[in-house]
């Protein structure tokens, strides 16, 4: 095995297989947004602090600005685009809308992925568990209360 500066990777994103050649230095978030044109996942801070770039990697919640695309070779990725089906919001997305859990919406894709990860593991989280689950996601608009309410509602 030798180290390479460019590599062909295969990833499944929201159920679709993609094969692309990428630079080793390319961050996963840029691969998702610019190479695959899935611009739902956002870049907020680019330092691992805000969570706007959160995606699920083989079912595990990660910040995609803190990884290289080549590290995701062979993985299954889920992004916010995979939540709705046939134009219909899923229950969690509908709950965000119903509870005014977004204002500018910048944090929302990451919030939804963090909430998705939580609800898969814990179908009836307490308020404290919800707050702990979204600790890595910063929202500068809502004050979090409505986000917590929406996740609570979606859990029911």
């Amino acid at each position: 095995m030798e180290a390479v500066s460019r590599k062909t990777i295969t990833v499944g994103v929201n159920g679709e297989q993609y094969e692309r050649e990428v630079d080793a230095r390319r961050l996963l978030i840029h691969f998702i947004r610019d190479d695959l044109d899935l611009t739902g996942s956002h870049i907020g801070c680019d330092t691992g602090n805000c969570g706007a770039c959160s995606v699920l990697l083989d079912g595990t919640l990660v910040k995609s600005c803190m990884m290289l695309a080549v590290q995701a070779d062979g993985a299954k990725i889920e992004t916010v685009e995979g939540l709705a089906s046939e134009g219909e919001l899923n229950g969690l997305q509908q709950a965000f809308s119903d509870h005014h859990a977004l204002q500018c919406g910048y944090c929302t894709p990451g919030m939804l992925m963090s909430a998705t990860a939580l609800l898969r593991e814990n179908s009836s989280p307490s308020e404290e568990e919800i707050r702990k689950a979204i600790q890595g996601n910063i929202c500068r608009c809502t004050g979090y209360v409505n986000i917590v309410e929406a996740i609570k509602a979606a859990a029911q």
Binding site: M1, A3, M66, M67, G136
Partner: protein
Amino acid sequence: MLLREVEYARPASVQEALRLLGANDGARALAGGQTLINVMKARAASPDVLVDLADIGELRGIELGSDGTLEIGAMTTYSDIIGSAEARARPILGEVCNQIADVQVRNRGTMGGNVCSNDPTNHLPPLLVAIGATMTIVGQNGERSVPAEEFFLGVYMTAVGPGELLTKIFVPPGKGDGFASVPIGKDGTCIVNVAASLDGGAPRLAIGCVDAVPVLLRPDSAEDDAVRAAVRSANLDPPWDVHASADYRRHLAEVLALRAVAQAAGRT
């Protein structure tokens, strides 16, 4: 952020990783990337080659030996520790891992990366010093064991030399531990943190965030007066920054030492 050009390899064995690290002076191990990717973005370091340890099975996992010693692979994530039944043999490990950053960072960040980066504000350096962990380091010339209290050498510097890897962390059995901190948010980066262990007979205290490496103290007893005296006689000279003055950090060191010891005493 566009990183500087870098080469990447994901070897499947420690031997192969050592060969790749040895082949280029600019090669660096990549663990969870939760420090290194940021360091590369900031150009604080720009490795030429990244040797990703993710596929090396022997670096993962948590085993509980018959004598109660935990053997933890360097690539074990904080989330692995939190979810592990074996790791509950030393409950403080999961409790402290659950205070690091947030879910996303805990899912990627590793035990090995946390200690090898030796950021003075990290949670695990003082904890592993207080509970008397031992690190296994492997290089071209074989393997050696280093006690945690000799592992941390300076800010971002450890006993792991160029071309070497930390492979395992051994944690002896025990329950009488405590950890107290004042973090910047509810969890996450600490202003000061203190780990205490009362298991090995004499109390062991390790204070983080006040020096380049955890400050190990051995008070005469677990009594408040003895703990206070030990912290005062250490003549701490902590850094100051936007979060706290040096005086405030000194004050916190004493208060948190008492809290960590009280927690540990409640569990022995």
